[in-house]
């Protein structure tokens, strides 16, 4: 075939493929907004579910999800950042480091439902936390650990080497160098990763199925050993387990979850782009 013609045909085909990938994204979001927006009102956001969850609001699910993601980040942010510090500032190029990196890649690939099983067997049963905020948060925290480590590692690596040399030459100890000359400059990158991790944790259902999520609770949780309702699980329950739910109610729940997750991602993108613009070295 004429090379010019095949060039044109091929470029048209890959353009078509790209549109086929991107268009449904817009379509999905448009559908959820269109069908979910009518359900949004003050009562929906701040009220309890009523009439077997066929009416009323989703406040306990929103609150539960916020508790769970806060708990997850409370655990995984410090551990993830310290782990990244080890990899960037301390590790040498040896077998152990290779093994750590392989473990991180693998953690990122473990199916979310397997994290659920792990959380059930370790936190709920072995540590006797029961089905609780604590068990669910720790499970989610472990799940997002690779996200945080990877982001923090990139952020630490992006701090120029001269910062380290200058700091050490002025007599700083290694930890002083990390704390004063590296962490402050890596902070935006670390925050970006943390928020992306939060978004991921907020949307996951499978890890919380057997570690914390409750079908329906008539009251708000009082301690970290209580169960909670959670938005993604609530959406699952409404759309598959409860018959005759008004469509606007399910779409409204989907919309709130989507908005929550997208706001977190938007924040991460804003921090990232501001940081890129401000960087002066």
């Amino acid at each position: 075939m004429n090379p010019r013609l095949s060039h044109k045909i091929f470029f048209f085909l890959i353009f078509l493929a790209t549109i086929l990938v991107i268009l449904p994204v817009g379509l999905i979001i448009a559908i959820i907004i269109k069908k979910g927006a009518p359900a949004l009102n003050w009562e929906f956001l701040t009220g309890f579910p009523r009439q077997g969850m066929r009416a009323g609001g989703i406040f306990p699910a929103i609150l539960g999800t916020l508790y769970l993601v806060s708990g997850a980040i409370f655990f995984s942010l410090p551990v993830g950042v310290l782990s990244a510090i080890y990899l960037v500032e301390y590790s040498r190029d040896n077998f152990l480091t290779r093994l750590i990196k392989l473990a991180i890649v693998n953690l990122a690939g473990v199916p979310s439902v397997v994290y659920g099983l792990f959380g059930l067997s370790l936190f709920v049963i072995f540590f006797k936390f029961g089905s609780s905020i604590l068990a669910g948060s720790l499970t989610l925290g472990i799940m997002i650990l690779p996200v945080i480590i990877t982001a923090a590692k990139e952020a630490l690596e992006s701090v120029p080497h001269s910062f380290r040399e200058v700091s050490l030459s002025l007599g700083a100890s290694k930890w002083q160098m990390i704390r004063k000359a590296i962490l402050p400059y890596a902070l935006p990158g670390i925050l970006t990763g943390a928020i992306l991790g939060l978004g991921r944790a907020a949307g996951e259902t499978a890890p919380i199925l057997f570690t914390v999520a409750a079908f329906y609770l008539p009251r708000l949780p009082r301690s970290i050993f209580d169960q909670v309702m959670a938005l993604p699980y609530h959406l699952y329950v409404l759309s598959t387990q409860v018959p005759n739910v008004k469509q606007s109610l399910t779409y409204g729940t989907a919309l709130v979850l989507l908005v929550l997750v997208l706001i977190m991602n938007l924040f991460a993108i804003i921090i990232r782009s501001r940081f890129r613009r401000k960087k002066r070295w």
Partner: protein, 289 residues
């Protein structure tokens, strides 16, 4: 002075422990899955578990054969791969090589957006749009089929495949392409003969990670594929995957029962499969450097 040294000693040890925490967690996941799964193999042999055709966990006597579930996973994974690999790589080529700069940013943002949508939301949308469509188009008794699941999963694997393949293509040195074009090749010839082969290992990694994502996906699959634990023959019938079985049944089992052990056995199977898939992807990625 002494106090500071003590503090630094403690912190550095904390950093060291955190450094190896990923290894500890991977080992813990494996051990705890194994610890719970092992109970099953006192009564059911490993071979019977993997090759058994019947999954009747609550009948009397119960049957714990996961072959139909493995086939269910293979069916949706194959279906999703057939759709997502060509589309994903084509999009990656378009984004990396062809798209004008501003359009490229929009496309990348779209892909990131897709990656951010929770799987339960995609499952919910799939139930309400895709499933009725499949039912009508193929005139089936139900639209909850392996085919619907494949389409949804292909879509969900897209961010992984596109972004990693795009990175791999962008990482190919500019001189390669310039050389090819200077020799009179069209842009497409340069892509096919020079850029794609040079980025191949990255593309292989993208495909493997995409497949890993598909195998492990739970909620959307559970909501869309119909969950019938039978040996599937065509893509147009309901299937049940490994992941969906765990998610759907774990809530109803008694801790310490054979059913409970068997679900952990499925979890262990999944863990091993995704471990291997990720290992291959990692090896492919490292060969590049």
């Amino acid at each position: 002075m002494r106090l500071r040294q003590l503090k630094e000693f403690l912190i550095e040890n904390l950093i060291l422990i955190s450094g190896i925490i990923s290894i500890i967690i991977v080992a813990l996941i494996f051990l705890f899955l194994l610890k719970e799964a092992i109970g099953l193999f006192k009564t059911v042999s490993l071979w019977k578990f993997i090759s058994g055709k019947n999954w009747y966990p609550i009948s009397d006597p119960p049957r714990f054969g996961i072959l139909s579930l493995i086939l269910g996973t293979i069916f949706v994974t194959l279906g999703a791969s057939i759709i997502s690999i060509p589309l994903g790589i084509a999009s990656a080529i378009y984004i990396a090589e062809v798209a004008p700069k501003s359009f490229k940013e929009i496309l990348k943002a779209g892909i990131e957006l897709l990656a951010a949508i929770p799987s339960v939301v995609l499952g919910f949308i799939g139930m309400n749009t895709l499933v009725p469509l499949v039912k009508k188009t193929f005139d089936l008794p139900t639209g909850l089929t392996a085919f619907s699941g494949s389409i949804m999963l292909a879509f969900m694997a897209m961010p992984t495949i596109v972004s990693i393949a795009e990175d791999a293509l962008t990482a190919v040195p500019k001189q390669y392409k310039e050389g090819a074009i200077a020799l009179g090749a069209t842009h497409w010839q340069a892509i096919r003969r020079v850029i794609l082969p040079a980025g191949l290992s990255g593309i292989v990694a993208a495909i493997m990670l995409g497949i890993g994502r598909v195998i492990g996906e739970t909620m959307a699959v559970m909501m869309i594929t119909g969950n019938a634990a039978v040996i599937p023959h065509t893509l147009l019938q309901p299937v049940r995957t490994l992941t969906a079985t765990i998610a759907a049944e774990m809530g109803e089992t008694v801790v310490g029962s054979n059913h409970y052990f068997a679900l952990f056995g499925i979890g262990l199977t999944l863990f091993i499969i995704t471990f291997l898939v990720n290992l291959v992807a990692d090896i492919a990625l490292h060969r590049k450097r």
